[in-house]
């Protein structure tokens, strides 16, 4: 078959026109869906005051009961840091700190020591959501990073992707599991279980845009830090009194 230049140009024109039209049609429903449900807003913030934490471990215990977390798994845990004068850093978290800490002998001259409670940071830019191959982990309208346990296939990519080791494989359900900031409580106007039982107010939770809540106030007044800011995940858990040795 011989094609003249004229015919070739004509055909090329049609093809370009056709694919352009197709592209528009493809985009339309996606765009409208996006417009309809809007993006998720990060309404809530969580503040951990390491200068107040006494390491009693009640938060980890309450979390286990509230969310029926399987034994030896932790949605939240407490790390006990000891930094020696020679620069050595010791971190311990026996049973996630759930049963508090035994008074241990220091291994040298102690420079400083403190407790750091940890939990899912509910990041603005969550790696875990990005890597999920089946769309089972997502950001809710309120900004919580959640796992759809029916959709999850248990590939554990998200567990590897989390820079904070906040996720674990649920040994009963064989799906990814993590802190939800007690999503079920927050929707009912309650605080997360860990915040509810903290005897010293080291854990605070509330709306970021409410200047009346401790979180709304502290976020403006206290100079807070986040864990691993260099990862670019923009965590929504803020720490007061975070030492540079904390990772």
């Amino acid at each position: 078959m011989k094609t003249s230049r004229r015919d070739f140009l004509k055909q090329a024109g049609w093809t370009i026109l056709g694919s352009g039209l197709l592209g528009t049609v493809v985009q339309l429903p996606v765009r409208s869906a996006r417009a309809a449900s809007g993006s998720s807003e990060h309404l809530y913030g969580y503040i951990v005051d390491t200068t107040k934490c006494i390491g009693c471990g009640l938060c980890a215990g309450a979390c286990r009961k509230e969310n029926r977390v399987p034994e030896e798994c932790y949605r939240t845990w407490i790390e006990h840091y000891t930094i020696y004068l020679d620069g050595q850093v010791e971190v311990e978290s026996p049973q996630g700190g759930e049963n508090s800490f035994a008074p241990t002998e220091a291994k040298g001259k102690v420079d400083r020591s403190f407790f750091v409670p940890k939990l899912c940071n509910h990041c603005k830019e969550p790696n875990c959501v990005q890597v999920c191959p089946v769309g089972a982990t997502y950001v809710s309208r309120e900004g919580m990073v959640l796992v759809d346990q029916k959709q999850c296939v248990g590939c554990a990519y998200c567990i590897q992707a989390c820079p904070y080791s906040a996720r674990f494989m649920n040994p009963v359900l064989h799906v990814a599991d993590k802190c939800t900031w007690c999503y079920h409580r927050v929707l009912k106007g309650l605080k997360p279980a860990c915040v509810t039982v903290c005897p010293v107010g080291a854990r605070q939770f509330g709306r970021l845009d409410d200047p009346g809540s401790p979180v709304g106030r502290l976020i403006k007044e206290a100079r807070l830090q986040v864990l691993k800011p260099e990862m670019g995940n923009e965590p929504m858990v803020f720490y007061n009194g975070l030492d540079k040795e904390v990772r």
């Binding site: 998720s40 107040k52 009640l58 969310n67 006990h80 508090s100 809710s140 005897p199 010293v200």
Partner: protein
């Protein structure tokens, strides 16, 4: 020539028809909220999962929920130094007398229960009063407690060193400290002590009068 164009048109028409069919089907099957753009990533999102997670029952209720049924305990608690400590920190949950496992709520008055928060730990902030059971400071306090109160059956004629760890021997913190108002009974002790001293003074005054000599 014309023949060729009609072939192409047919192909494009078919493609378009297929595409339209696909999108009509898709709009029915895929929920609106799936694939919401979230900055540089797709925030995959299944709305029903929200509901499933939200339907999880709540267990912890906060201290306000306890006040109605345990008015006496709550009234004492409100007055004391433990007012900032939520009921559920010490007791776990209770709904009409049963906890989440269907058992009676825990009321742990052991030394270990107090030491969870009050043990002297490295790095524990000084804002919370800390005790070490064998700390002479505490032993001193306890001796004082024994002297002022009549409640504690500790032999306080022996020195702290001879007594050893009195807490290991079964003495509990709640003997001197009310769990809900930790300084309550101490106040009573102090009042008792003052009263006893007053009586003693009166007694000696009387003794001086009747015997004519100093005791």
């Amino acid at each position: 020539m014309l023949n060729q164009i009609s072939h192409i048109l047919k192909a494009i028409g078919l493609l378009l028809l297929g595409a339209v069919g696909f999108f009509i089907l898709r709009s029915f099957i895929v929920p609106d909220s799936f694939g919401v753009q979230h900055s540089y990533i797709y925030g995959y999102y299944r709305e029903a999962s929200d509901g499933e997670l939200a339907a999880q029952p709540t267990i912890y209720q906060g201290s306000e929920a306890c006040l109605g049924c345990h008015a006496v305990a709550a009234a004492t608690w409100k007055e004391g130094k433990h007012a900032g400590v939520p009921c559920e920190s010490c007791h776990g949950t209770c709904r009409a007398g049963r906890n989440e496992a269907g058992q009676k709520p825990v009321s742990d008055s052991s030394v270990a229960a107090c030491m969870k928060c009050h043990a002297a730990l490295r790095g524990r902030p000084v804002g919370i009063h800390q005790v070490a059971a064998l700390d002479p400071h505490v032993q001193e306090k306890v001796k004082w407690g024994c002297q002022v109160g009549s409640l504690v059956a500790v032999d306080n004629r022996k020195s702290v060193k001879e007594k050893g760890d009195i807490f290991a021997q079964g003495l509990r913190c709640v003997l001197c400290h009310d769990a809900h108002h930790p300084l309550l009974r101490l106040k009573e002790f102090a009042m008792q002590k003052a009263e006893r001293e007053r009586l003693q003074r009166q007694g000696t005054d009387n003794a001086t009068l009747s015997n004519g000599e100093k005791p």
